[in-house]
């Protein structure tokens, strides 16, 4: 029966994946500017269409070995630059390869290379560790005007940088080395063109570093996503079956890797909740990395194991809205309970509250089962009984389906949302094995059991 359920589950996942493929329009990409300097050794930068501002005393620009080598002298805020006019695109991707302080000068202790797009100016700063930071045109330049996208950019080797943006959503994502996960995401920022609607790419020398710094740049590219979506098979399809796991506070007890293995999921994206210092009784959480909000690839399965949405903006509202979009488009969100999530995880009043199959009505006291609640394990009788000791005492919403109960208490509850599903496991990984009552997470069958329940939820609704 288990294999039948598993096979059904896989088929359902594939079906969901195809639904995703249909639901997402393939994004149209057009390269509107590209410069790679290959085969152009010895040419002047102006010959390639760049407008140069500044003299050789400020900075020199030499194309050699297929890269643009910029010698940046110490000329504070007057280091010279080059500029290339490019169309303004609302949605797109700007990328470049860069080798900061390629000759390893010991005087790289401040702002040197700047790379800008439209009104967004990024810079590399070698004070302490090499940082990638940004400021918008018109800002006074005070501390608060700068944002730090990465505080540990490698020096002396070529790395890739990418800026993904959607001006209509006021969202910009920055990528450094890791092109899959942004190192920084910001919202509410206004990317804008010049008054005539055009824009430019700017590469310059901030000139504040105390020594002469040699930086290299190559493979500059601006890609527009503004075109109409294309329906042909050649257009990029969402990756069917992408799974994302959010590891909250008690994630180890859930044995997520085994669960994913039982679901035949490889290469899940994993984000982990981190804890900030709590000098007073207010927790502070954040994710170790931010998922992209602009990625065209949607999740088909999302697992949140004891994840708090806050305090501290652990799962920011923009990400919650994105998750809701993923669910509406066909993803399956699975929430595993715990002391830090659901009614205790600032879900109430959040964008994600709407999708839950259980009602939230304030913070309850700790619900300890008067006696351990047995989980039906489906594998037959055993000496020990997998049990729940603590749980979320929550009521299913009207269109929810109770997939499993423990001594009459709704244990696994699921509901549809848009084209997707949301399933909640109301148990908490708390308590200790005692006598015949075995903590459910210590039960050997737990990962497979939960995997089966996930598939069962998907099977129930497809049917």
């Amino acid at each position: 029966m288990r294999r039948t359920v598993m096979a059904l589950g896989i088929a359902v996942s594939l079906l969901l994946g195809c639904c995703l493929a249909g639901a997402n329009a393939a994004i149209s990409k057009e390269v509107v500017f590209s410069q790679d300097f290959q085969g152009k050794d010895g040419k002047k930068i102006e010959d390639l269409g760049w407008i140069r501002n500044g003299t050789d005393e400020q900075s020199t620009w030499e194309i050699k070995d297929g890269v643009l080598e910029i010698t940046c002298f110490n000329k504070p805020y007057k280091g010279g630059y080059i500029r290339m006019k490019v169309p303004f695109v609302t949605r797109g991707e700007f990328s470049f390869d860069v080798n900061i302080n390629s000759k390893g000068s010991s005087g790289y202790q401040h702002l040197s290379l700047r790379v800008g797009l439209y009104n967004l100016k990024t810079a590399f700063n070698g004070y302490m560790k090499n940082k990638w930071m940004r400021i918008f045109d018109g800002a006074a330049g005070k501390d608060g005007d700068w944002a730090y996208m990465s505080k540990d950019v490698p020096v002396g080797k070529t790395i890739k940088c990418k800026i993904l943006f959607d001006a209509s959503k006021e969202t910009i994502e920055y990528y450094c080395e890791d092109m899959e996960n942004p190192c920084y995401v910001e919202q509410g920022v206004k990317l804008s063109p010049a008054a005539d609607g055009s824009g430019s790419i700017l590469i310059g020398n901030y000139g504040v570093a105390s020594d002469t710094i040699i930086n290299q740049i190559s493979n500059i590219k601006l890609v527009s996503f503004d075109g109409k979506p294309k329906a042909s098979a050649a257009i990029e399809q969402p990756r069917a079956g992408q799974t994302t796991v959010y590891r909250g506070m008690a994630f180890e007890r859930y044995r997520l890797e085994e669960m994913l293995s039982a679901l035949h999921v490889n290469n899940a994206r994993v984000y982990t909740t981190l804890v900030g210092l709590g000098l007073r009784p207010v927790n502070s959480f954040r994710l170790d990395r931010q998922p992209s909000l602009l990625s065209s690839v949607r999740d088909s399965l999302i697992i949140m194991a004891d994840v708090p949405l806050g305090p501290g903006g652990a799962v920011q509202e923009a990400l919650q809205r994105r998750l809701k979009e993923d669910i509406s488009s066909g993803a399956h969100l699975v929430i595993l309970g715990g002391l830090f999530t659901l009614d205790r995880g600032q879900f109430e009043g959040s964008p994600l509250e709407e999708v839950l199959p259980v009602k939230l009505d304030g913070i309850r006291g700790l619900a300890k089962a008067p006696k351990p609640l047995p989980i039906e394990d489906g594998s037959g009788a055993s000496e020990k009984v997998a049990s729940i000791f603590y749980y979320h005492d929550l009521t299913p919403v009207s269109n929810a389906c109770v997939l499993a109960s423990a001594d009459g208490h709704p244990l696994i509850v699921s509901r549809p949302f848009g084209k997707g599903l949301v399933t909640v496991f109301t148990g908490m990984p708390c308590g200790m094995t005692s006598g015949r009552s075995q903590a459910f997470w210590e039960w050997s069958g737990w990962p497979k059991y939960m995997a089966q329940m996930i598939c069962k939820a998907e099977g129930s609704y497809i049917n």
Binding site: M249, A250, F251, E252, R253, T272, L274, V275, L277, G278, L279, R280, P281, V282, N283, D288, P308, G310, P311, L339, F340, D343, R344, G345, Q346, I363, R364, G365, L366, K368, Y390, M428, P429, C430, G431, M432
Partner: protein
């Protein structure tokens, strides 16, 4: 280890070139001559005894020295350390020295001479701090590679060093040792042992029969040799042997300055070859006392004690001597503890263990051994120890934590450093698997909660902690466990009722981090505020004492329900950060702590009393210690807890350590806060310490800060450099130990303001005394103590200070009540070693005047007044 003694082995200047290291009786040939070759990368000197390669790309420093048997030895060359003490106070601690290594310099090399018997090189280079010249002499049949270094400096400097390192002298068996002692001296991190120069140390592997060393000359500009080994045997990875020569402190020399260092690398050979470098100076004494070393820093009352005594004969005939050992407590209370006759054979060295009983006289004492020959004292030596059943009365406190101390096999090296420096208590910080639920780990290794918000991870073993505590106890350096009320996330998941909860219904977490895919070191304050939980907790602590041998604890938490998790939150200066409404937590039933604990002060005091009584029932000598705020407003806010926590306990005034901040940044301001808060706990028998002290450099700031802390009645909590290094903390700690009674006896209370006029000191304005006038009432008399500090010119603590000139013409005046008379007057002085001098006094118009002859650094004047 280094008692006061007369006569040492020294290196005679010219004898660095002595033929004692030569291979005798050989005629000149290619086989026994010196060959110097030069290529683009290096200069190579090959002799029949060794081959040394100097690296051109690294300032002509030693890249590799190969001796038969192979030990790869290298050097960074001469390293210059710029002064790290800031000229002017700027609110920051002192940092570390900027260093200028020869290996990074542009070095010019001239070959002064090259021949089959000798070659000489002149290396010269410049740095912004000054210029260095080094003449290196290689002799064909001599293992000594001689250096003659001149450093002309134009900036404020700390010191200069030259060191040798090897990473393959020992195998994992750790068989190598240092000569002349033939002992394996291990180091922890980069701290080993220092011996004053002139000296040599030769690192030798007796299995492979290979070694190398450094020998100092008689240059007065040299200070000490620093050396250690560490390897797998001591719980480290790899193998490291390090020998380094250091100059004297250049801190207070005039600019421009110049020093000369002459020393030699010992290139291979046997220990006997190395010993030939050292020559006995003609010794005027036939017998010398080489070492007097009490086993423990702290003995209990009536404990069987012992002192190691080493006596050497330099005579060619048999010597009959008498050894007399005495202990002196207080000021001049001397009793003889041992007398024995000894016959020494010619050139014999005898090691003895002198047993004695600690007696009933509390506080510090001097153990002195004299050698008598024909009834006359021909040599003597003295060391210091202490007697008490309550260690906080006499001890300075050292700290260890799993971030820097976990290596099985290194325990004795850690404790040696504390013992050498006269620390009496060592606290092990952040050690338990769970500070609330698991003080008796059932596994051999575990990951303890770490400080710094879990910024680093650590693994501790039961074996390490047990051995550490055993070594500590055997040396009278009492091991204390740090305890907190921070429970691990895992314990809380097992017992969710034990968590404190936030307003959001989440367990309140203090910190945590991810290591090795596990949420390690995540902890949160426990809701342990009920008698049953506290009793269980205390029973666990008592079990932990049985398991490890702790002698006490230092809480980094409090039993009061409604205060911040961090004890520094009690500090009134931080009150604004903690709105009382913001520190409310909830239990698992959503009841606020404010509802549950309506009298937090009384609750805290009650629970603390339960905890202490429960542990002390099973371990009566166990000492309670705690992080604590002794300020007046805290006593007003939580009087019951204040009294309970400071009664016969060790209290850490962590909130007072910041003598770099505005509130405490002058000697006078800091002293006022320290003395006043000390007095508040002293009446309850509390012994305060301040720390973790750091960033005070190793000059006048450090020296005066330590004396000021002691004079305030407070103990030091922090670290110290190796004994005999540039950090001479050990000198101040031995003084504080010897005369601990006059710093720390709770009977000494500050004269109240209305009586301050009874004592006056006529002295230079830079003699700081008026914060430190105390009186102790005795049955038939009273003691008045006045602590004198010779302050430098500047009042800011954390800035560079010149050494203040000694102060003379000091008169202490004490008013006598009708019928009173002075019974005795004395001054206790730290230099050159702790000693007391009886003083004379005059009485006129009811005022006794006592002249203090000279004040170099600090002094304690004691006037006993009776009827």
């Amino acid at each position: 280890m280094h008692a006061i003694h007369k006569g040492m082995l020294v290196l005679a200047a010219g004898l660095l070139c002595a033929g004692s290291a030569r291979v005798a009786g050989q005629t000149l040939s290619a086989a026994n001559s010196l060959v110097l070759t030069e290529n683009n990368n290096s200069i190579v000197i090959k002799t029949p005894l060794y081959q040394a390669e100097l690296d051109k790309s690294k300032g002509f420093t030693l890249k590799e020295m190969n001796v038969p048997g192979r030990a790869r030895v290298r050097s960074a060359g001469i390293v210059l350390y710029e002064e790290s003490e800031r000229e002017k106070y700027n609110g920051q601690w002192f940092g570390t020295s900027t260093t200028y290594a020869q290996s990074d310099a542009k070095v010019d090399c001239k070959i002064l001479s090259r021949g089959p018997m000798q070659a000489k090189l002149l290396l010269s280079w410049k740095y912004p701090v000054g210029a260095v010249e080094d003449i290196i002499t290689f002799d064909a049949n001599d293992r000594l590679i001689k250096h003659n270094v001149k450093f002309d400096y134009i900036k404020n400097m700390s010191h200069v060093s030259f060191g040798l390192k090897s990473n393959d002298l020992s195998s994992s068996e750790g068989e190598s040792v240092f000569y002349p002692d033939a002992k394996r001296v291990t180091g922890v991190w980069n701290t080993g042992v220092c011996v004053p120069t002139p000296a040599y140390r030769f690192a030798y592997n007796p299995v492979r029969k290979v070694g190398f060393g450094l020998a100092s000359g008689t240059s007065e500009d040299l200070s000490h040799l620093h050396y250690f080994m560490r390897g797998t045997k001591e719980g480290w990875s790899g193998d490291l042997t390090n020998i380094e020569l250091r100059s004297k402190s250049l801190r207070w020399t005039k600019l421009p300055g110049s020093i000369n260092l002459n020393f030699a690398i010992i290139a291979g050979g046997s220990p006997a070859d190395a010993a030939a470098c050292a020559v006995n100076m003609p010794v005027s004494k036939p017998v010398t006392l080489d070492r007097v070393w009490p086993k423990k820093v702290i003995y209990r009352l009536g404990e069987a004690a012992s002192t190691e005594v080493v006596v050497s004969s330099h005579s060619n005939t048999e010597e009959q001597i008498t050894l007399v050992s005495t202990v002196t407590a207080g000021v001049g209370e001397t009793r003889e503890v041992d007398r024995r006759n000894l016959t020494l054979h010619p050139k014999e060295t005898v090691r003895l263990t002198i047993p004695w009983n600690s007696g009933q006289r509390e506080y510090g004492l001097a153990f002195k051994t004299e050698i008598l020959k024909n009834g006359k004292v021909i040599d003597w030596s003295e060391e210091y120890t202490s007697i008490t059943n309550f260690a906080p009365k006499v001890a300075q406190i050292g700290i260890m934590n799993p971030g820097n101390a976990w290596q099985e096999g290194s325990e004795s090296a850690f404790i040696r450093n504390f013992r050498d420096n006269y620390f009496g208590i060592v606290e092990y910080y952040c050690w338990a698997p769970d500070q609330v639920t698991n003080l008796t780990p059932q596994t051999e290794t575990w990951h303890p909660h770490t400080e710094s918000q879990g910024a680093y991870e650590a693994t501790l073993s039961k074996s390490f902690l047990k051995t550490l505590a055993k070594e500590a106890n055997e040396n009278g350096v009492l091991p204390y466990a740090m305890v907190t009320g921070l429970m691990s996330l895992y314990s809380g998941l097992d017992n969710p009722e034990l968590f404190q909860y936030t307003r959001d219904g989440q367990p309140y977490l203090f910190n945590g981090n991810i290591y090795d895919k596990k949420r390690r070191y995540s902890v949160g304050p426990a809701n342990a505020y009920n008698p049953d939980t506290v009793r269980q907790w205390a029973e666990q602590m008592a079990d932990s004492v049985d398991m490890f041998g702790w002698q006490g604890c230092r809480w980094d938490w409090g039993f009061i329900p409604n205060v911040p998790a961090d004890p520094l939150g009690l500090d009134s200066t931080k009150k604004d950060k903690f709105n009382p409404d913001e520190i409310i937590w909830y239990d698992h039933k959503k009841r606020s702590a404010r509802e549950l604990f309506t009298t937090p002060d009384a609750t805290g005091a009650h629970l603390l009393r339960i905890w202490r009584e429960t542990v002390n029932k099973r371990h009566p000598n166990y000492v309670y210690g705690t992080n604590f705020c002794g300020a007046a407003d805290v006593e007003q806010r939580i009087p019951k807890y204040f009294k309970e926590a400071s009664t016969n306990s060790l209290v850490l005034f962590e909130y007072l350590l910041e003598c770099n901040q505005e509130r405490y940044n002058t000697w006078q301001k800091w002293a006022r806060h320290l003395t006043e808060d000390c007095q508040r706990v002293r009446v309850n028998g509390g012994q305060p310490c301040v720390g973790f002290m750091r960033g005070l450099g190793s000059g006048v700031t450090l020296r005066m800060a330590q004396y000021l802390i002691f004079a305030s009645g407070v103990h030091w909590s922090g670290g110290a450099g190796a004994r005999n290094s540039l950090d001479d903390t050990w000198k101040r700690f031995r003084f504080a130990l010897r005369f601990s009674e006059y710093y720390y006896d709770p009977g000494f209370l500050l004269l109240p303001p209305e009586r301050r006029g009874e004592v006056d000191v006529k002295a230079d304005p830079r003699v700081f005394w008026n914060q430190f006038v105390y009186e102790r009432k005795l049955p038939q008399s009273r003691d008045v103590t006045v602590h004198l500090l010779n302050l430098p010119d500047g009042d800011y603590i954390v800035e560079h200070h010149k050494e203040p000139a000694p102060k003379k013409d000091i008169t202490v005046q004490v008013s006598l009540k009708p019928g009173e008379k002075v019974k005795s007057a004395s001054v206790m002085l730290p230099d050159p070693a702790p000693h007391a001098v009886n003083l004379k006094w005059d009485v006129k118009d009811g005022t006794a005047s006592i002249k203090v002859p000279v004040l170099e650094t600090a002094a304690i004047v004691l006037v006993r007044i009776g009827r």
